[in-house]
Amino acid sequence: MKNEELKINSDEWEIGGKTLKSRLLIGSALYPSPANMEDAIKESKAQIVTVALRRQAAGENAGGNFWNIIKALNIHVLPNTAGCHSAKEAITTAQMAREVFDTNWIKLEVIGDQYNLQPDPFETVKAAETLIKEGFEVFPYTTDDLVVAKRLADVGCKIIMPWGSMIGSGKGLMNPDNLLAIRKQFPELKLIVDAGIGKPSHATQAMELGYDGVLLNSAIALAQDPVKMAQAFRYAVEAGRFGYESGTMQERAFASPSTPTVGTPFWHQFS
């Protein structure tokens, strides 16, 4: 790859009709304070932040201080359908989010199991199909199942977000081979690893697999120092992407010295 091409690929990418520089998508929940959230998002350099909708009490400002902070960041907002357990619930939530947040982007989450928050693939595909027909840009949260990814692509998803592992678990990539299979099968789709990332090295690993981005929340928000961790993830995602673009060396089953062997003073040969 020419240096010029590499630079372009490293600097900018496209998702959902937007051109971005950052490949880190960040959540807005679980921070110690709104100010800390704001600082962490800024430090991450993320250009997409996930948000949600919940019941609003009468007499309060809709969204309150939180929404004012997010708006002031002037980055792209990705509303989610967290907490939905059916296609119908997710579709209604997406329609409400489109009106409130003034975006056709939706992070589609339809949970199939309350214990491990595993997405329901059947309801997710059903909801995705309807939402795409209604003009949404769907970012579906799914497992690392190749066939589910295929079904989502079949109904028109241009973006797929397989999990690394369970939401909030911090376990990293449970099945990197599965993630790689999805990457190889769908080179034309935008693929984001969503959920389960716990450490910066997990994000790097996802990017080294050729994923287009990483979406995470808990790993930053629950760190001892979320702002510093946001910076760590920024670098980790960049490092992983650069590594992928550079083309990693072939793994070998044997040792091979890197220092030249010619001219080595092998004292032991004369003993």
């Binding site: 807005s28 909708l53 400002n61």
Partner: protein, 67 residues
């Protein structure tokens, strides 16, 4: 008067209110929220023409933190 559920709370309201009037009656003062009735989205464009019925379940949602 009719009984409806608003965000999970049972409330008594006047019969025949539309969504716009309901929001005023409940003292939702600012914009920036969205409404669903019986799990169906109600667009802001149809607030005036959507009448609240006895037993309706109304959800009024606003932005919060999310992952």
């Amino acid at each position: 008067m009719i009984k409806v559920s608003v965000n999970g709370e049972i409330k008594e309201i006047k019969e025949g209110l539309n969504v716009h009037q309901l929001i005023e009656a409940l003292e939702y003062k600012t914009k920036g929220f969205a409404v669903a009735i019986n799990t169906t989205f109600v667009s802001i464009k149809t607030y005036e023409t959507t009448i609240i019925n006895d037993g309706d379940s109304i959800e009024i949602l606003a932005p919060v933190q999310g992952g």
